[in-house]
Amino acid sequence: MSADEKTSAQSKITEQVVLFGAKSSLCGLLARPVDAATGLPIVLLNTGIIHRVGHHRMNVTIARRYAAKGHPVVRFDFGGIGDSPVQSETLAPLDANLASITEVCDWIESNLDQSSFILMGLCSGADHAIIQASRDPRIAGVVLVDPSIPRTFRFFLNNFVRDLSRRVVWVNLATGRGNTWARLRRLIGRPRGSDATEIRKEPFARPELEHPEVISFLEKTYQDAVDNGARILAVFTGGHDFQHNYRRQLLDALPRVKFRNQLDLHFYADCDHTFNYERHRTRLLAELDGWLGKLMASQNERREARRETN
């Protein structure tokens, strides 16, 4: 879409500030079509501590694009992020944020007369989205980009095979440098001075996700979301290859979840975590277009069926 086309799309929508929540202090922006809405409302969630605009202004692009296609779209900041003050002194941040999502959905239900919603989130936003969908049957769909999932046997195998093709690994092996040698020397009690810096701390990977209790929690979360009727678009990127590195990892990591036909699963190997490049954002938007189209078609079919039954 060129700037002119985008401007023309913008003229088909309105944007207004809304202060959500019990304290009317959750700062949000509602974009919606000038004409009557024809699509389900979409709620965009924060990524980490980045405010509602999103990396590379991506959330603004998404909001305006889908408002122009008939969806009311809300972007808002969780408490303590962007322009929203902390909402609760007593609740843990996750619980406070989930309560905020509920408040936003309640506002949409009261003010826009819509009772089903789509949640979209990247990274921590995706984690919030799926947990909310497991607890709120009003969530008809979730778009999860790089949600947190455990690593699997195949993940480690893929990593090992990938490492075998890296020249630096063989050079280190031959010269006694690198992680593996440093660990070995430490194991036998003969560390070198440089070993402390050789051993990478791997600050990005999250081994805690592999704890059985966490896996059970995630399986229940995903299962409850599916049982609540939520359709899931899950997109994993190669940008988080310390945590996931193949398309079916979600299925292998959470084997007891019965996704039925409600899961659309994709792996963008060449794409970074925050979609720095426009071509990657374009690919994601095309995916969203298709998935939303299918979701809306199934919603309309259900509505028609209900009408015929009545």
Binding site: S2, A3, K6, T7, Q10, E15, Q16, V17, L19, C27, L29, G48, I49, I50, H51, R52, V53, H55, H56, R57, V60, G82, D83, P203, F204, G239, D272, H273, T274, F275, N276, Y277, E278, R279
Partner: protein
């Protein structure tokens, strides 16, 4: 704080007004001018903090997004420096209306500092105080640094992708389009010739050494004990992030020094 839209139907701007929490003998007001692109994203948190700190010290503060940035209307490719100057003036007028102040202070970060300086020079009666925080002194150097950042992102070293000519050309810089026209406008920025015409109460705050500082320091001259002109404060650069090591880190020293200087 109160978020709202202002401006004209063709140029709707998003702003957040922080009313003064304590009262002062005279009404004081400050407009914060954001940086551009990825620097804007990283700096947002620190600018919110600075606005809150100033409001607690009795300033009425307005933060706002230029047309084509943040929550304001328009596309990233529609940002022009002339447009940003107009937006700063609109924000200043809006804040004076809201607060009753008769003049305003401008506090700009990075490209926002250069824009604020240009506005202050163009309309000398409007701006009573000016804070230039890690300002872009040489546009050419800044453009070079943008391309360097884009080629050395944490996701890997790669030349910034070219953008199609029919969409304004240029390149993608850390997730944001920088069209040929925008690059040319930014490259023309030169703060040094403006120095003699800056408001008398102007301070430059820097957290990182830059090649242009020597020339700039020569231009602004030495301050006096009572009139600081150039503060070098070793602190985290609000507009830069080295994820995850310093994600969300705010330069509290700088924020408090700016508050002290303003008050």
């Amino acid at each position: 704080m109160s978020p709202f839209y202002f401006g004209t139907p063709k140029r709707r701007l998003f702003g957040v007004y922080h009313p003064a929490i304590t009262s002062r003998a005279t009404v004081r007001a400050a407009v914060l001018c954001y940086p551009w692109g990825h620097e804007y994203i990283y700096a947002h948190r620190s600018m919110v903090k600075l606005a809150s700190v100033l409001a607690e010290s009795g300033f009425h503060v307005l933060r706002f997004d230029y047309f084509g940035t943040g929550d304001s209307a328009g596309e990233s490719t529609q940002v022009t420096l002339d447009g940003c100057h107009k937006d700063i003036l609109m924000a200043a007028e809006e804040l004076m209306d809201m607060s009753g102040a008769e003049s305003i202070s401008l506090i700009g970060l990075r490209l926002g500092a250069s824009l604020a300086a240009e506005v202050a020079v163009a309309d000398r009666r409007l701006v009573d105080r000016l804070v230039l925080w890690d300002p872009v002194i040489s546009g050419a150097d800044y453009v070079e640094s943008l391309y360097h950042s884009a080629a050395n992102m944490p996701i890997g070293k790669a030349a910034p992708p070219e953008r199609p000519v029919e969409k304004g050309g240029g390149h993608e810089i850390c997730g944001f389009p920088l069209t040929d026209a925008q690059r040319e406008q930014i490259a023309r920025i030169d703060l040094i010739p403006l120095v003699p015409r800056l408001p008398r109460k102007t301070v430059t705050v820097v957290t990182r050494a830059a090649a242009a500082h020597e020339r700039y320091l020569a231009a602004i001259g030495d301050g006096t004990e009572t009139e600081e002109r150039f503060l070098s404060i070793p602190d985290h650069p609000a507009w830069h992030e080295n994820w995850p090591l310093d994600a969300g880190t705010m330069p509290v020293d700088v924020i408090h020094r700016i508050k002290e200087w303003m008050t």
